[in-house]
Amino acid sequence: MIACQHAKNLFDRYLDGSLSPSLQTELHAHQLSCQSCQTELAILEACGDVIAGDKQEPVLSASFTDRVMLARRAQVRPAKRRWGRTFLVFGSPMAAAASIVFAIILIAPAAKDQPKTVVLGGEGGKVAPPVAVQKALLGGKELPPEVQADLDSTPQMEAVGFVEDWLAPIVAQTRDTFQMAQNGVDQLEVLVRLGASDANSMLVARWQSARQSAQRDQAPVEPTGDAEANEIDLLDPASPRPASPAVEPVSEPEPAQLFDAL
């Protein structure tokens, strides 16, 4: 039989669940005869029970999960936006710089072979771009004759490979992009107008029905002139409501005018 002090030293290992089966048997045997050890171990076990099962803690707010999810979204979004902004801030100039470098790399060997172009038009004179670039810039539109004549009389910049083959298509493409963007804006405007006119017709219909019902309500009341009949019980939902003063005045602009400004 183990001694009392030895038994007490085994308590922790027993409660941790790391006591060997043989020592467990020894401990149980000692407990049967030792009231003090029995009570002490029971108190420790009761402590464990209380800590494990006595939920004294207050309850977490019901909105806790929602708050965490909202905070998480707020945390995630700026990160995404930052990337977008970083791309816009650094991406576009970098792309532009890269395309310039690319163009230079492409031109540089060809430029060596080309004879150097002398600027025409003398000192301070005008120089018109080559015909291909002019066409691209104008988008195939005819110029007024006097402008065309002026352009014809102006000495033209010599059309080296770069201007004809590279610059003209880029100008044409840029013009097309702008045109497409313009078309997009136009279409958006049409959509907004359509939406506005739909909303407008709904408003008109409501306004008219409100006016008609107001007139209907008033029609039988007027001939009687009975003051009591005009009384309206505000608490009774069946009772006729007075027409809204906003609808009554004739001077009120018709809703149809509201969106005419568009």
Binding site: D49, D54, K55, V68, A71
Partner: protein, 210 residues
């Protein structure tokens, strides 16, 4: 009988389900993240509240712990349980918070501790007076433990963690975790010695709790 019981009123995820949810949350699935919060929040809050004893501060710490856990999901290793990881983050946040609180007030503030105890009056009425008295004494003794001792004993009994898991969660060597747990028991034993004169009182208490 070995007194180790895990929390049995909250939903506990299986390891596999937890792993799947973590993977989904990592790839941005909000529903998975929400489930992870819902299945861990009460246990985490109980753990944090035991240490801080302030409702508002405990909620703040829990929220921060969840956000940090989600923020670093990429570095989460599948060999750990999500709960272990979450408790680790929360424990560190608690220690930092206590340090800050101490530097502000110079000492631990026990006023909140007293005020929040009064909220349980209704619960207390339902229990036998004697059992309640013993429970209060036990909690009083737990409150007097150091923070690591409290954390170790709560994780052991409430969370059903092994000493190894406790060591991992608290970021300390296993021998230290064991020593915290054993010292905590020793101090509880000292505080409660002489309190129970009758063996039947302990039985009544244990039945009341279970």
């Amino acid at each position: 009988m070995i007194v180790r019981q895990a929390d049995n009123d909250g939903v506990r995820l299986t390891r596999r389900a937890e792993k799947r949810l973590v993977m989904q949350a990592r790839s941005g699935c909000e529903e998975a993240a929400r489930t992870l919060v819902d299945t861990h929040k009460d246990r985490l809050f109980a753990f944090v509240w035991r240490i801080l004893r302030d409702h508002h501060e405990s909620e703040e710490i829990c929220q921060e712990a969840f956000l940090r856990a989600f923020d670093s999901l990429d570095s989460f290793s599948a060999e750990y349980r999500f709960s272990t990881w979450l408790f680790t983050i929360a424990y560190r946040l608690c220690l930092n918070h206590i340090r800050r609180r101490k530097s502000l007030t110079g000492e631990l503030d026990f006023t909140t501790l007293e005020s929040e105890k009064e909220q349980d009056a209704a619960v207390q009425l339902a229990e036998s007076e004697e059992a309640r008295r013993l429970k209060d004494k036990i909690w009083e003794a737990v409150d007097k433990l150091s923070v690591p001792q409290q954390a170790a004993i709560t994780l052991f009994y409430r969370e059903g963690m092994s000493c190894e898991m406790i060591a991992r969660t608290l970021g300390i060597p296993m021998a230290t975790a064991k020593s915290h747990l054993h010292r905590a028991r020793g101090r509880l034993r000292e505080s409660l010695a002489g309190l129970v004169s009758d063996w039947s009182q302990v039985h009544a208490l244990r039945e009341a709790v279970s």
